[in-house]
Symmetry: C2
Subunit: 201 residues, 2 copies
DNA sequence: TCGCCCGCATGACACCTGTCATGCCGATCG
DNA sequence: CGATCGGCATGACAGGTGTCATGCGGGCGA
């Protein structure tokens, strides 16, 4: 029996995935949490074999959680289950020692297959996603560029961004300009959108 | 036995929700589709009692599908199941004769409860969402403003938007300006974000 | 019928944005 | 070591952006 922890902020979906996994005779969901920052405690308490993590979660996102579990030398394996198979996400997951990566639009039985593979010490990657990540290449943005794109994406004005980061407005515009050049986009809205889709911010 | 049609573009999630509903003795999933534009045919073929529709789908979004079903006088009731409980979505759904509206982060048993209520001729609304919709008020944006906000949100340059809509650039900027004023935002990125969160574009 | 309001559309003006030239610093490499 | 490259930071300039005054036409209440 493979013991599973499920982390996803959408309660109903979490319950549905638990129901799906409950249909498999060799799988057992032993814990469910709705926030990233509750995963560590739940792992400590329930000692699951595999942690199935969503990426978009309040508290801490699934990739950050995976990195922390990896750094703390936790016994349990991690399988990411997410809506967005963005290239940047996949790379960050691999770097964090994640061995399974399944998209929410994958075939129904793929999650159980991934969990078994991961529990057996193997890896499970969606072929489409892996190909996409290879094609997209590395994240070309610097830390400053990412930060400023993130803030721009929330609708923050240039002046406010400059104030918050202790920069001149011209410098903020300059980072946006280099980011736009790197992403091949011609304005800030398009650059933010592109960076988000790649999983780079 | 209540016969259900399930429409959601995320295959794995669709399967999971089907598994969840399969646990209920009085519910039966008789059809599953992954695109909005496949719903009509599936309804005609399987004659379900209740159609459970996601909003974000390729082909046609769930609200559009609900409006079409309503207009065609279909026998089956509609229950919307979505990640985003945006005020504008709820209003559009009500206008389309939808009688159930459930958020994906609602408690696990809420979907089954909503389906039973809707099948019995009643209505089922998440109290939180309904309150949010009341508080947000009506969509203040005109058709032109929505269209231009949508295009701006995809990263399209002002000049291209003007060309596509056969307007001068100044007019496009003006619509963005009035939209920004109505939404209380100070730049186009913020306005797009705000309108999206309200479900107004 | 007459104002009145609202949506649609435009051009002009002030200001914000995107780009460029420039410089500094640390890392990498021949 | 000196050369070179990439990240960080700035100011100046041209052009795009947000705002305003203005006008047209359709619907709606007085």
């Amino acid at each position: 029996m493979i013991r599973i922890l499920l982390a996803d902020d959408e309660h109903l979906i979490r319950g549905a995935v638990a129901a799906l996994l409950g249909l498999e005779p060799d799988l057992e969901v032993v814990a469910e949490v709705g926030r990233g920052d509750e995963v560590a405690a739940a792992v400590a308490e329930h000692d699951p074999d595999v942690a199935v993590l969503d990426i978009e979660m309040p508290g801490a996102d699934g990739l950050t959680v995976a990195e922390r579990l990896d750094a703390s030398g936790a016994r349990c394996s991690v399988c990411i289950l997410t809506s967005f198979g963005r290239p940047g996400y996949l790379r960050r997951a691999m770097a964090a020692g994640v061995r399974g990566f399944v998209a929410k639009d994958a075939p129904t039985q793929e999650l159980a297959a991934a969990i078994r593979k991961v529990h057996g010490g193997g890896r499970y990657l969606d072929a489409e996603l892996a190909a996409g990540a290879m094609a997209a290449g590395d994240n070309p943005l610097s830390e400053r560029e990412r930060e400023i794109l993130r803030l721009t994406g929330t609708g923050t004005e240039t002046a406010r961004i400059a104030a918050r980061l202790h920069l001149s407005e011209g410098t903020v515009r300059n980072y946006l300009s280099t980011a736009m050049t790197k992403l091949g986009e011609s304005n800030r809205v398009a650059a933010v959108r592109c960076a988000k889709e790649m999983g780079w911010i």
